[in-house]
Symmetry: C2
Subunit: 305 residues, 2 copies
C-alpha cells in the first residue's frame, strides 16, 4: 500500500505571527507530491521539512487571499533558478494565471519548465485531476471570495488473488483479471467458482479533504461524506462566532459539526487566528461534538489509514 | 543627534536558503522608519527584530526581481488587516503598482490606508523624497532589469549657538537664526562679531547608500562619493566572476573597488549567493582593496556615525 500522508507546513491565518506560518501542506499520495496552498514562506517551510521541491508535481490553490498563495511566486521562481525540467501543474482559480504572468513579465522571466493550468470552478464540484490510482475533486466553499476545497481519493483497488486457491479450484490464469475486478471465475471444468473463494478484498479507498477557508457551510457535507481525514479551518473559537460570520470563517465547534454530520473518520483543525497562542480551546470545543479531532501542528505528518 | 542606523533583515540572494533571507533592511533615520526592499518573509523578519511595522512610513524597492519585493504584498495586507490609518509611501518602479493593483483586485481587497506612489527613474539620478532633515536620491544600477540604488543623506545641519558667548559679545537673540545659518552677527553696539566666535559647527551630514542588485558599474561612484556607509551587493567571490558578469551581479572584489574609488567611509557587503555558507572569503577578498569592509549579518544594526 502506498503512503498517503499530509505534512502541515503552515496552519496560521492571515495575520502573520511567529507561532505559525500561513496555509500550506504537502500531501504524499500514490507516489505523488502535491502542495496544497502556498502562503508566504512556504519555500522555507519546505526546506525546514527536508521536502524535495522539484518532486512537487501539482500545486492546488484554494483561493486568492494572500495567506494562501503569496509564497507561490517565489517557489515558481526557485524551481526556475534550480533548472526544473518537469512540468508543474497548477490547479487554481483562473485569475492566478494573470497574476503569475504579470509578475513574470515585469521581472522579465521566462520560466524554463512548463506550467500547466487547470482552473477550478467555484460554482460546482468537479473532477480536476486523476490518474490510475487517485482522483482529485474540487468543490465550492463559502468564503468572502471564490474558494474551493479539494478531495483526494484513491480509486477502487483491484482485489488480491489467493494463488493457492486458483490451483485448488483449477482456475486458469486467464480468469485473473476478471477476478481482480470482483467477478466470479469459470474453472477448467466449466464450473463457476465464487469470487470470494479465490480473492481477498482490496484495501479500502483512502481519502483526504482540505476545506479552507470557509464559514459553516452544510453543502460541504455531501462532498466529504465518510472521508478518512478532513482538514477543516477553525480560525476562531465559539466566543468569536460573530467575527467568524463576518469574515466568512468557522469556529472549532462548527468544524466539528460538519465533521459529525459528514460522518468522517478524523478531523484535523487548522488556520488558527494569531490571537490564539495555545490551541487547547479548539480541542475542548470540538471533541464533545466530534471525538476524533486533532489540532494541526506545523512540521507534523498525519497518516491517512 | 538623531539615530541613523540600518538593521539587516535579509542579505541572501534569489535562491532561498535556511541561512539567509532575501533582501530587506530597515533604516532608522531622522525619526523615520524606512524599509529598503522587501523579499519574501520580510514581515516575519520584522517581527523577529521587534520592529513596529505600522511605524514604517516609506518602502523603497530597488527592482522587480522576486527576492526584492515578493514580501511586500503580504506586508501591505497585514498593515491593512491591522487597521493602519497613516499613509504609506512606496518608492518603486512603476510596474509594481500594476502588480499590487491586480492582486488587490483578485483578492477583492480595498486597502484601508492611503498608498502614495513615487516612481523611480531607471535612466538617471533623481531626488525621490525629502523633508527638512533628510533627502533621498535614487540612481541607476546596472542589472538584468531596471534597478536603482538609493542614497539617504542628512541635510546640512544648522550651527549650534554658544549661549554664554552671546552675552559676552552683547549679541541680541534676534541674530540667532542668522548665526545658525553660518553668517556673522551684529552686536548691540553695531559691531560685527565673527560667526565662529559665537557658534560651534554642526555635526557632519551623514549618509547611507544601498546598491543592490548591480554588476560592476563605475557610474555608481559619483552618486555615492564620500558616503559614510554603503551596502553594496557581493553575490559572488572572484572565482565566480564569469557567473557574476552573466547574471549582472558583483563580486566582493568589485564591490571593494567601487568603495575605494568612491572614497566612502565604510562598506557593508551583502546579497550573498546561497552557495556560500561561510562569508570569510568576502572579507579576505575585499579588505586588501578597501580596508573598512564589513559583511552583513541578519539581525545586526549598523550605525552611521
Amino acid at each position: 500500500m502506498h503512503d498517503f500522508e499530509v505534512t502541515i507546513l503552515g496552519c496560521g491565518s492571515a495575520t502573520p505571527s511567529l507561532l505559525r506560518n500561513p496555509s500550506a501542506q504537502l500531501l504524499n499520495v500514490a507516489g505523488h507530491s502535491f502542495l496544497i496552498d502556498c502562503g508566504e514562506g512556504t519555500q522555507i517551510q519546505l526546506r525546514k521539512n527536508a521536502a524535495k521541491i522539484q518532486r512537487i508535481s501539482h500545486v492546488f490553490i484554494s483561493h486568492l487571499h494572500g495567506d494562501h498563495y503569496l509564497g507561490l511566486l517565489g517557489l515558481l521562481q526557485t524551481m526556475h533558478l534550480l533548472g526544473r525540467k518537469t512540468k508543474l501543474t497548477l490547479v487554481c482559480p483562473p485569475e492566478l494565471k494573470e497574476i503569475i504572468d504579470l509578475q513574470n513579465k515585469h521581472s522579465q522571466t521566462t520560466i524554463v519548465y512548463e506550467i500547466e493550468y487547470i482552473f477550478t470552478n467555484p460554482k460546482q464540484a468537479e473532477l480536476v485531476w486523476e490518474d490510475d490510482k487517485i482522483e482529485v475533486k474540487s468543490f465550492p466553499l463559502r468564503h468572502r471570495i471564490n474558494c474551493t476545497g479539494f478531495l483526494f481519493k484513491e480509486k477502487p483497488h483491484l482485489k488480491n488473488i489467493i494463488k493457492e486457491k486458483l490451483d485448488e479450484f483449477n482456475v486458469p490464469t486467464s480468469q485473473v483479471n476478471k477476478l481482480r475486478l470482483g467477478f466470479d471465475a469459470i474453472n477448467e471444468k466449466g464450473k463457476t467458482i465464487a469470487n470470494d473463494k479465490l480473492t481477498v478484498s482490496a484495501p479500502v479507498q483512502r481519502s483526504y479533504a482540505y476545506c479552507s477557508d470557509t464559514n459553516y457551510y452544510e453543502e460541504i457535507i455531501e462532498h466529504i461524506k465518510g472521508t478518512d481525514l478532513v482538514y477543516h479551518e477553525a480560525t476562531f473559537l465559539e466566543a468569536e462566532i460573530e467575527r467568524a460570520k463576518k469574515t466568512f470563517h468557522s469556529t472549532a465547534k462548527q468544524a466539528a459539526t460538519i465533521a459529525s454530520k459528514a460522518e468522517i473518520k478524523q478531523l484535523l483543525l487548522g488556520h488558527f487566528s494569531a490571537r490564539y497562542g495555545n490551541t487547547d480551546g479548539f480541542i475542548i470545543e470540538a471533541k464533545p461534538i466530534f471525538e476524533n479531532t486533532l489540532v494541526a501542528q506545523e512540521g507534523q505528518t498525519y497518516k491517512i489509514n
